[in-house]
Subunit: 323 residues, 2 copies
């Protein structure tokens, strides 16, 4: 990763380990095998981008770690729970370089354990004792699930529209980013307009993040991604760069042929070559860049401080990650 | 069912339809196919025992339907969500006489939709704006999932202990009954001792309910159950009557042979005949009866009123249902 997240997270870097410690304590349960499951999924540590967003948003106001740490941990636990179910349904073998739960254990264990982690994230947010945070959390879980269901429902359909795509990634990705930033603000006594601004920042950043992710899935390689390229298309998931490519190529396009032929793995390289040779990936990245600009614009009216600077820098870096 | 639940629920019977209406409104979503899913699972209406428990507990104190209706709806939605995942993992074809979600749609849809209903139940409890209710709700989801995981982990093992069994059903069933009754009490301004008493009532009632259910699964027939008898053993789930039978029959027993042979469906009748010929079912029912007595005893100190009478009657009826 080209981005120095440690530097970007600097205003809250000293406190991020508290979030990790709080998450790890979820593994302190009576059953040894359940503890093993929790440790397994928490060992595959991500960049902790979402918890950092919560702390950075809070840092702009009355920075209260007693509320912000459980909130940040809750957001990351929820993210982890959704990944467990996603990987199980997608039959993905790897996540963050580690074997997925359903491959180490089995699919039924993975479904039940994903449920358990949803519960752990809900219990964690309840530690804020803040009704608004708990309610937004519950609503966000519903929005994420709606986005996932929508993606599942429209899978294998080459005629997915941009409108459907944005509704889907708004649900499955951007809503969680918005929860992370907005809750960080109002849990720290931010004025309502500032909380809304940070919520909008998070939402737009989430859209940009997901678009960049979807472009990389088509244009990058296995060594960089940690999983084979083109995984989205193999799952029948038609993303923005694919939609843009199809719009240019017309109704007789290689993505349609690939999907209608039942997604033969051997034909994937041809599809990827065609997409890469087009300007669809660049067009999608331009859209992501526009959302980054809108995210930064959303918080431009907030007081200048180190945390706001970090959020601004971080937004720009979203497009460069793993590139 | 031999029990006239309408009469038992009498003090709150006029208000139970409000709970149903509130639940049905979950289907008012943008996507028609998601609305169809919600309507499908809510059409298979159960007895609404858990919502009735919440309202009856609240009826003993300052009966506030603005809080009790979303709480009761939340408990029933959570119950529905757990059934969707249970049936999917068990590959069950029917639930309450209707086809299960994974058979009408597919397993992936069922997992995502179960998640969605979990979210709907969490959103519903947030409408109480009561931190204690929201926190107990989240903790209960975790306890239920822990119970389900424990059952899954110990499946196919004929040497499950009674201690393990009670921990499992305490998690997967009794904790939700306790949430239903205890929250009904404290949302209605009950004194803490009364809330605790009603929580204990719910927990003990839940244990009795599950034991009776587990006995019926071994001793009843398909016409009565709405599904084939012996389903638990076919799933490798060794319940209290089975544990009691094994304790009498010794280490060379037909349940062990059945499980070790990979649960051949053709051999199930022999196992069921042996269990039915023993006094293990009656011994398990005696234990259920003891928990009913303890449930009734837990609320004996509360003020005499129609709602308390209903809860007392309802506890006794738990053992007679479908018998």
């Amino acid at each position: 990763m080209a981005v120095d997240t440690a530097a970007t997270f600097e205003p809250v870097a000293a406190d991020l380990p508290l979030v990790d410690e709080t998450m790890q304590r979820v593994s302190e349960v009576e059953f040894e095998w359940l503890a093993l499951l929790v440790k397994h999924v928490l060992a595959a540590s991500g960049k902790r981008l979402r918890p950092a967003l919560t702390l950075l948003a809070g840092k702009m106001f009355d920075y209260n770690l007693a509320l912000l740490v459980p909130m940040a941990a809750s957001v990351e636990l929820l993210h982890t729970a959704t990944l467990i179910h996603d990987d199980t349904l997608d039959k993905a073998a790897l996540r963050r370089g580690l074997s997925t739960v359903h491959t180490v254990w089995d699919a039924n264990t993975a479904v039940l354990f994903g449920d358990y982690m949803f519960a752990a994230s809900a219990e964690m947010v309840s530690r804020t004792a803040n009704v608004r945070a708990m309610r937004q959390f519950a609503q966000t879980v519903g929005i994420i699930c709606g986005g996932e269901l929508s993606q599942h429902y429209r899978a294998y359909d080459w005629q997915v529209t941009e409108e459907e795509y944005f509704r889907r990634i708004g649900g499955k990705t951007a809503s969680l980013f918005a929860l992370a930033t907005e809750s960080g603000a109002y849990l720290s006594g931010a004025p309502e307009t500032a909380a809304q601004a940070l919520g909008e920042y998070g939402y737009k950043l989430g859209l940009a993040f997901q678009i960049a992710d979807d472009v990389l899935d088509l244009t990058s390689d296995e060594a960089t991604l940690g999983k084979p390229a083109g995984g989205d298309l193999l799952q029948g998931n038609v993303t923005l760069p694919a939609i843009r490519f199809i719009a240019q190529a017309g109704s007789q396009n290689p993505i349609r042929r690939f999907l209608e032929a039942g997604r033969p793995a051997d034909d994937l390289a041809v599809v990827l070559d065609a997409v890469r040779a087009s300007d669809a990936p660049a067009a999608a990245m331009a859209t992501a860049r526009r959302y980054v600009d809108e995210a930064v614009a959303a918080i431009r009216g907030l007081p200048i401080c180190a945390a706001r600077e970090s959020l601004t820098t971080l937004a720009a870096f979203t497009l460069e990650r793993r590139a």
